[in-house]
């Protein structure tokens, strides 16, 4: 279990990975305390997979260093391998074999004897609801089943640190919920989890802390609450009955919320960023906006308050680093 050492689960400083001239990971710092769930959030190409692969000893960094439970991922790779598991972004199970054969093979590679490997595989198939599909080739599995098998393969030996690279991308809501449940159970047993995702919502639900990365660097780090409040509590989406009233509505919003109002391409809609932090304050501010619009005689067909999306977190964060560009919605 992770409690045997006091070193953080992951400590990385100045990690660099180059692909030719492409700086996929460009001076990344990360500190993941043991026993927590850490979310790494970023858009396509941000360097999430590359980072995870370096930390899981699959790829060697070109610069910087990283330790897992105090052991260096390059110099002590074998020691690191015995404590971590990786469920990659793309399923790394063998399509030609059955679910059961996949697990038995991996169990044997972990040193279980033939009968013990079989027993362990069957237990896992049972726990992951795959008993019925155990004898079918993995190429006939659905995306959700494949994910479950892949995660199951990662906990054949309970790892101290589990990497999950976009574990729910491409899954339907039900399968996504199943994966979340699985992750929570794994964490409850003391395994540290580092998961990457493109969804703020997912990181919010599962992670104790989040690092937002872009262009191979951490551009923000903190608890989900800290991150969201640094961006504002979300956005107000308005649909007006009369497009002619949009200019007036925009004026009302601008005077109440500041400059962060964006007319959408649809002539009846407006999107504005809420400027106060905290869920309660945000709801209150949104209510006041609605009241003020009614006073101004503007008919609102649809009004909704959205959580800040990754887009918004992202735009806000990149706004900050590149100065104060106006963001087109």
């Amino acid at each position: 279990m992770a409690g045997t050492s006091t070193a953080p689960a992951i400590e990385a400083s100045g990690l660099i990975k180059l692909f030719g001239k492409n700086r996929a990971v460009d001076g990344l710092d990360l500190r993941v305390p043991a026993g927590t769930v850490y979310g790494v959030l970023g858009p396509n190409g941000a360097g999430k997979t590359t980072t995870v692969r370096m930390l899981a000893t699959l790829t060697r960094p070109n610069g910087g260093q990283a330790t897992v439970f105090g052991q260096d991922v390059v110099r002590e790779a074998d020691a690191v391998r015995s404590r971590v598991s990786l469920t990659g972004q793309y399923a790394s199970v063998d399509e030609d074999l059955t679910g059961q054969e996949n697990l038995v093979l991996l169990a044997r590679l972990l040193g279980h004897r033939k009968s013990a490997a079989r027993a362990r595989a069957d237990e896992l198939l049972e726990a992951f609801g795959l008993t019925e599909a155990a004898g079918r080739q993995v190429k006939n599995y659905s995306g959700g089943m494949r994910r479950r098998l892949d995660i199951g393969a990662s906990i054949l030996n309970t790892p101290d640190l589990l990497f999950l690279d976009e574990p729910t991308t491409g899954l339907d809501p039900r399968s996504r919920n199943q994966v979340w449940d699985i992750v929570r159970t794994i964490v409850a047993h003391g395994t540290t989890v580092l998961l990457t995702t493109q969804y703020l919502d997912e990181a919010d639900r599962l992670a104790d802390r989040i690092a937002v990365i872009d262009h191979g660097r951490v551009i923000a780090e903190g608890t989900p609450g800290e991150l969201k409040s640094s961006v504002g509590a979300g956005t107000v989406h308005l649909r007006l009955r009369d497009p002619d009233q949009r200019a007036k509505a925009r004026h009302v919003l601008t005077s109440m919320l500041g400059a962060a109002v964006h007319p959408e391409s649809d002539p009846t809609t407006l999107v504005a960023r809420i400027t106060v932090a905290g869920d309660d304050a945000a709801t209150e501010q949104a209510a006041r906006v609605l009241g003020e619009l009614a006073v101004a005689g503007i008919t609102v067909d649809n009004f909704s308050v959205g959580q800040p999306s990754l887009d918004e977190v992202f735009l806000a964060l990149t706004d900050r680093t590149t100065g104060t560009q106006e963001v087109a919605a």
């Binding site: 990786l86 790394s92 030996n157 309970t158 047993h189």
Partner: protein, 284 residues
């Protein structure tokens, strides 16, 4: 759960991970000792056997293909080169066995490439096991395929009238030597399998290497009639030495110099391409 649910459909309504079942799994901290190099390789060899079970078509190239090659060359060249097909077979069989087996080695590289492309190796590479095990194990599986091809050809040869003077022991020794060479030779394709982008490019590179190497040798004809420059190439071609050694063993008069030559080239191939392959495997 019904047993009638069609392949590919999920039964998510039935599945929800219960903390109890998952908990029992995760509570286990009994970690067995890591497997030995041999045990890990054996597990990967088992994987190769399972693949044969699930995709039996892949046995076509180690059974039907060698038979076709043997029949084709025996009857194509037999009359012209040796007076009769049966006569020619006495000369051709050891060489055609070498040719067939070496042509098949290319599939090893294609298999490795497919594993890399599908990400299967990623999981293997995060396991704390003897590093070459995945490659060695896959190759051991292929060695069984090579062995099958060699056996099939020998049996076809005997059925057509091949009578090795070395008898059973001589043939077994010759096949053993051929398989040993094929094992070492395969590392060339493993290296390309790890290096190149697609299975097609592995095949694309292996053909222009394999064809000259097997044909510009003493497999089909005695090199004495060839022009000098070609003879020079044939002389240094390791395939020529392998064929001469195998012929000797099958004929019951194994030439120790030739056998040493073959074993020496095995060692060189293993050291050079085995090392390069492992370097690529680790760096991927």
């Amino acid at each position: 759960m019904t047993t009638l649910s069609p392949a590919g459909t999920d039964s998510p309504s039935v599945f929800s991970p219960t903390p109890e079942t998952m908990g029992a799994l995760l509570a286990r901290t009994d970690r067995p000792r890591r497997p030995s190099a041999l045990a890990a390789s054996a597990a990967f060899c088992w994987r190769a056997m399972l693949k044969i079970k699930h995709v039996p078509e892949q046995m076509f190239d180690v059974t039907v293909f060698p038979i076709i090659i043997t029949l084709m060359f025996t009857y194509l060249f037999g009359g012209a080169l040796a007076g009769s097909a049966r006569e020619y077979l006495q000369y051709l069989l050891p060489g055609i066995t070498v040719t067939s087996v070496l042509l098949i080695t290319m599939y090893t590289g294609m298999g490795v490439n497919a594993d890399v492309a599908k990400g299967v190796f990623d999981r293997f590479r995060t396991l704390p096991i003897w590093r070459p095990a995945a490659l060695v194990g896959a190759l051991l599986g292929d060695v069984l395929r090579y062995l099958l091809a060699a056996t099939v050809i020998t049996l076809v040869g005997v059925a057509l009238g091949y009578r090795p003077a070395g008898g059973f022991v001589g043939v077994v020794a010759a096949i053993g030597l051929i398989i040993a060479f094929a094992f070492a030779f395969s590392w060339i394709w493993i290296m390309f399998g790890l290096l190149l982008r697609s299975e097609k490019s592995v095949m694309g590179i292996s053909m222009p290497v394999l064809f000259p190497l097997t044909f510009l040798s003493n497999v089909f004809v005695d090199p004495k009639t060839m022009p000098g420059w070609l003879q020079a190439f044939v002389e240094v071609n390791p395939i020529t030495h392998l064929v001469t050694a195998a012929r000797g063993l099958m004929a019951g008069n194994g030439d120790i110099t030739e056998i040493t030559w073959v074993l020496g080239s095995c060692a060189v191939l293993l050291v050079v391409f085995g090392t390069l392959s492992m370097r690529l495997y680790n760096r991927k």
